[in-house]
């Protein structure tokens, strides 16, 4: 860990101004950033602590949704009665993530900004375009069991590790950001995380000096909500594949569906054509397979993660079967 300066921000605008300085980074729960600093994967020269800013409220919006402050803890968000009642899949996604201790520290904004768990990203002795642009990608041609099968590039095949973000993607959440001038910008979560392309080090569309202040949820969508996380052990393991689903069905016919996937790509993955293809169709194996085929359009394995393709198909199939069971 390199020496750094530490500033406790007393306002959002002050935090955003401090953040505009080169080498500055926001710290809230620190559950990911501190690990990365110890390994010198991250070496900020200044930490701007926002954990004491009044961003820890969950409020109802006039539109009938929720506005979740950026520093709301994962545990608190998961336990909120409004979230549990109306956005069950978000609560379940949060509780499927990390461990109780980490959830008690980790924040909503920080969860969106957590970095990939790619082994090579964490190992500074290995090439990694995300950590050191232009150095290469050790995961390509290496061990890539936990890596992406969709939306990857020849520069980076990392995945985004969040469960929470997958649920938010299915819920069409919005990310609210503020800059030093106090200007607020709403970023649809679909546009918040980026694909790696040729710049895997740039992971979000957040601009320099912008700070996340809240995540907004639209009114709860109709239908059954499911979060299914497939992993190597029953707790404290990242998703190999996860599915966040909101499905409305009646009398064996699907009326609407939203499907977001974790563990597959550099961002929570969602395919509108797959969802549209389900509408009006009978809930049966053929329908589910067609949806899986649409989701997996363009999917490719890199060796040790080839299994994710059939696993995604099977998991989606199982989720849709449960969601449409009447």
């Amino acid at each position: 860990m390199k020496s750094f300066t530490y500033e406790r921000a007393d306002s959002v605008s002050r935090a955003a101004a401090a953040l505009a300085q080169p080498g500055a980074k926001v710290i809230a729960g620190g559950t990911n950033l501190l690990d990365l600093m110890k390994l010198q994967v991250e070496s900020p020269s200044q930490l701007v602590d926002i954990s004491r800013l009044p961003l820890d409220k969950i409020e109802e919006t006039p539109a009938g949704g929720l506005r979740i402050g950026a520093t709301v803890r994962n545990s608190d968000l998961a336990a909120d009665p409004r979230v549990r009642r109306h956005y069950g899949l978000l609560s379940r996604a949060l509780l499927a993530g990390a461990s109780a201790q980490l959830r008690n520290k980790a924040t909503t904004g920080g969860n969106l900004l957590q970095r990939t768990r790619c082994y090579y990203f964490y190992d500074v002795t290995k090439p990694c375009n995300k950590r050191e642009p232009g150095s290469g990608c050790a995961a390509l041609g290496g061990l890539n069991r936990i890596h992406a099968i969709l939306g990857a590039s020849d520069q980076c095949i990392a995945t985004h590790p969040s469960d929470m973000a997958v649920a938010m993607r299915a819920l069409d959440a919005g990310v609210e950001a503020v800059n030093a001038a106090g200007e607020t910008r709403a970023i649809p979560i679909a546009d918040f995380h980026r694909l790696p392309g040729n710049t895997p080090q740039i992971e979000t569309t957040l601009r320099a000096g912008e700070i996340i202040t809240a995540v907004t949820l639209p009114p709860p969508p109709p239908g059954v909500q499911i979060y299914r996380k497939v992993r190597d052990r029953a707790s404290y393991a990242f998703a190999l594949v996860s599915v966040a689903a909101v499905v409305e069905a009646s009398r064996g016919v699907i009326r609407s569906a939203r499907l977001a996937f974790g563990g597959l790509a550099h961002k929570p993955w969602r395919v509108p054509q797959a969802e549209e293809g389900l509408v009006g169709r009978s809930a049966n194996a053929e329908t589910f397979d067609a949806a899986a085929t649409a989701v997996l359009d363009g999917a490719r394995g890199y060796g040790s993660n080839d299994f994710k393709i059939p696993l995604t198909r099977r998991t989606l199939h199982a989720v849709l079967a449960v969601a449409t069971r009447t």
């Binding site: 860990m1 190992d123 069991r145 936990i146 992993r231 029953a234 299994f307 099977r314 199982a318």
Partner: protein, 737 residues
């Protein structure tokens, strides 16, 4: 005493105080949960203490062309940067004999320490460590076991060590002629011990005397290794380790932390403290080799084994001879006239492979006990019946009797308690919601060693007995069971025993490892207490062979005297246990049976344990509670080995890619539902005066195999490549409809 003949009735059998065997809470439990138990890194040595941080080689094989330490030396707080350029000459040997560091610019494996940065604070040392710049000449390395089998050779070992090869009868001919044959190959992965406390040392010199507060399982052995490495007399080296946060074999030997800290402390004339980071533990210290195991079983049509063969490949550094003895249990577990076991070792340029919990059996049983399950199915026999038909009357290789063996009783009692008769032998028949449910079983066995140990016990006028031994407690409960033995022998309540362990200034002890700890240290203490009983009896004017010690009193022939009236200013006795003839005259193992029920998610192939039972016999159980904890801990270790654990080697770099606790998976609470272990009554008069046998590693042996067999029963997937993760199961699952 020397263990040459079977033990007759003794004071532990009398159980006059009623302490031995009882489920006494850990006597050090309160210290541990209140933070009062101090571990190596927690010892304080005042403001002169400095802190060291290891710099690891970032290549697998080659030579340091240049190493630039200038920036590190100029960094804030840095007082010393050790490299091969300024490290002293050191003694050499294999990893059990010496641990020289920074001896040359050659890099033998990824993660090998190449520098040691010492600063006023840990953070300064760590920051400066990243400033060390190294240029390498890289050489091609041999990294993956499976790619280097053609290089494998027979390991060279001492005549009295476990031999790599054994043969009885004519295996090849008998197997070829056997009416029923099974020939299968199992593989197990590289594993890391991952005990809770990383390796840590505080080193300080007083003139030419070195004291090391260090996390080490075998202090006397460590003392010798440190002395040899640093080229100082052993009596000038003191190791102190009263509390150790787990070891599982990773702390059997002296590691780089101890030697680097000692060298730096000598140069600086200041105390040096260091701890490996969790990530460093994976490469800087030892691990368990992966194995490739071929098992061949030939039987008659009734399932009686005619030929049994077990061939094992493992890997290690070219300079090492330690092999993973995965065929050891195959030499003694089942009957059969024609037998062959062979171990071959491939020289590899990866970190040192060495002992990890139940070295040999832990992974050998993963193969043998699944092969037995496959054989049972082939024969259309219940797997318990197959084992019963192959129960030997004497050790089938050594042709000597067993000291005690109740495997069949464990199998039968376990089957009864677990409800084995409800198992459908046909796979994929039982559903519970989304889960395919299956049952599996496996035998358990682990060798029962005994090592030289000594003890001193002193009874003071205050009625307290003080026990001193260089024994360690690595979390297993040694403090507690030794307290119970001393209390029982001296007729005192356990809270009247003061235990002083973990210091080489105390009498020599075997340390903790190989399931020998309780038997070896406990027997030495038994002998010391027995000698003290004799002294007290004589002072009391009683016949030592007829006295009874209980409740602080000595009694014989209607007479009773308080011990405190006999001891004057205090009276003490030494004792020792010397392994003897009974180790050669009797085949000594602990035994047990594992029963497991697992669920396999019919859609995703996720495997989860539902319930598990272990039934064991291990001679006298010294403490029901700590014994059960040991057994359950082993079984959960087996769960990890079966479903989760494994280091993944990147053979391009020679490094382990999943080197932290987020990506190297071990069981978490949510993975462990209903697990129970029971011990059947047994006394082994040939093992040691306690009549106990080792339990530290018994629980892991066979545990994973019972889970693998349960997976097969659940879904029909016979996975011979551990760990059994969902990607391996997926293709065996039914299509979704």
């Amino acid at each position: 005493m020397e263990m040459n003949t079977p033990i007759g009735s003794n004071a532990l059998d009398d159980n006059a105080q009623g302490v031995v065997g009882k489920p006494l809470d850990r006597v050090d439990g309160r210290l541990k949960v209140t933070g009062g138990a101090r571990y190596a890194y927690e010892f304080q040595q005042g403001p002169t203490t400095t802190y060291g941080y290891v710099v690891e080689a970032s290549i697998g094989k080659g030579r340091i062309k240049s190493i630039d330490t200038l920036a590190a030396e100029r960094a804030p707080g840095v007082v010393l940067v050790l490299t091969h350029r300024n490290a002293p000459a050191q003694g050499t040997g294999n990893h059990r004999e010496a641990h020289p560091v920074l001896t040359s610019p050659d890099v033998s494996y990824y993660g090998e320490p190449i520098a040691f940065v010492v600063a006023e604070t840990f953070e300064q040392a760590r920051a400066a460590a990243y400033l060390v710049r190294v240029d390498y000449d890289r050489l091609p390395g041999k990294y993956a076991l499976r790619d280097n089998l053609d290089q494998a050779r027979t390991p060279r070992v001492d005549a009295d060590a476990v031999q790599p090869d054994t043969a009885v009868g004519d295996f090849a001919a008998a197997f070829a002629a056997a009416p029923v044959q099974l020939d299968v190959t199992y593989t197990t992965p590289l594993q890391s011990h991952l005990m809770m406390e990383p390796h840590a040392t505080l080193a300080m010199w007083d003139g030419d005397k070195l004291t090391l507060h260090t996390a080490n399982q075998m202090l006397n052995q460590g003392q010798a290794v440190v002395a040899r490495t640093l080229k100082v007399p052993p009596e000038n080296v003191r190791l102190v380790s009263p509390f150790i946060g787990g070891g599982f074999g990773a702390k059997l030997w002296v590691n780089a932390d101890a030697i680097l800290a000692a060298i730096a402390a000598r140069q600086l004339k200041r105390p040096v403290k260091t701890a490996l980071t969790r990530q460093q533990v994976f490469h800087v210290t030892t691990h368990r080799s992966d194995t490739i195991q071929r098992i061949r079983l030939g039987t008659d049509p009734d399932g009686r084994i005619l030929a049994i063969g077990h061939d094992v490949f493992s890997g290690n550094l070219p300079s090492e001879q330690t092999f993973e003895g995965a065929a050891i249990q195959t030499r003694t577990l089942y009957a059969g006239a024609n037998r062959l076991t062979r171990h071959r070792l491939a020289p590899l340029d990866i970190p040192v492979a060495s002992s990890m919990r139940a070295p040999g059996e832990a992974v050998g049983m993963l193969a043998l006990e699944c092969a037995m399950d496959e054989l049972a199915e082939k024969l259309d026999l219940d797997p318990i019946e197959l084992r019963a038909r192959n129960e030997p009357t004497v050790d089938p290789e050594k042709h000597i009797p067993y000291s005690s063996r109740h495997l069949i009783a464990c199998l039968q009692e376990g089957a009864r308690r677990f409800g084995w008769d409800r198992r459908n032998p046909k796979p994929s028949q039982v559903r519970d919601g989304r889960w395919l449910v299956g049952m599996g079983m496996a035998a358990a066995t682990r060798g029962n060693p005994l090592l030289l140990s000594k003890a001193n016990v002193r009874l003071g006028p205050d009625g307290f007995a003080t026990v001193r031994m260089a024994m360690t407690d690595i979390g297993t409960g040694t403090y507690t069971i030794l307290s119970q033995i001393a209390a029982e022998m001296l007729g005192l309540p356990p809270d009247r025993i003061r235990m002083e362990l973990g210091d080489t200034s105390f009498p020599l002890a075997a340390g903790s490892g190989g399931s020998w700890g309780a038997a070896s240290s406990g027997s030495a203490l038994f002998d010391a207490c027995n000698n003290l009983r004799g002294k007290l009896a004589r002072i009391a004017g009683m016949d030592p062979s007829r006295v009874r010690f209980a409740d602080g009193r000595i009694e014989a022939a209607g007479q009773s005297k308080a011990l405190t009236d006999l001891v004057g200013t205090g009276i003490e006795a030494d004792g020792e246990i010397v392994p003897g003839k009974t180790l050669k005259d009797f085949s000594q193992q602990s035994y047990g049976a594992h029963f497991a029920e697992v669920g396999v998610d019919v859609d995703t192939g996720e495997v989860r344990l539902r319930r598990m039972l272990g039934v064991f016999t291990a001679g006298r159980i010294l403490n029901e509670k700590t014994a059960r904890s040991q057994a359950i801990g082993g079984m959960i270790f087996g769960l990890g080995a079966a479903f989760e654990e494994g280091m993944t080697l990147d053979s391009r770099f020679g490094s382990f890619v999943n080197h932290d606790l987020a990506e190297y998976l071990v069981p978490v609470h949510a993975d462990v539902p209903d697990v129970d272990a029971i011990f059947l009554p047994e006394l082994d008069t040939k093992s040691n005066p306690l009549k106990s046998k080792g339990i530290g590693e018994l629980g892991i042996c066979g545990a994973g195999a019972s889970l693998a067999n349960a997976i097969y029963n659940a879904c029909g997937a016979r996975i011979r490549d551990y760990p059994i993760t969902l990607d391996k199961v997926l293709s065996s699952l039914p299509l979704q409809t």
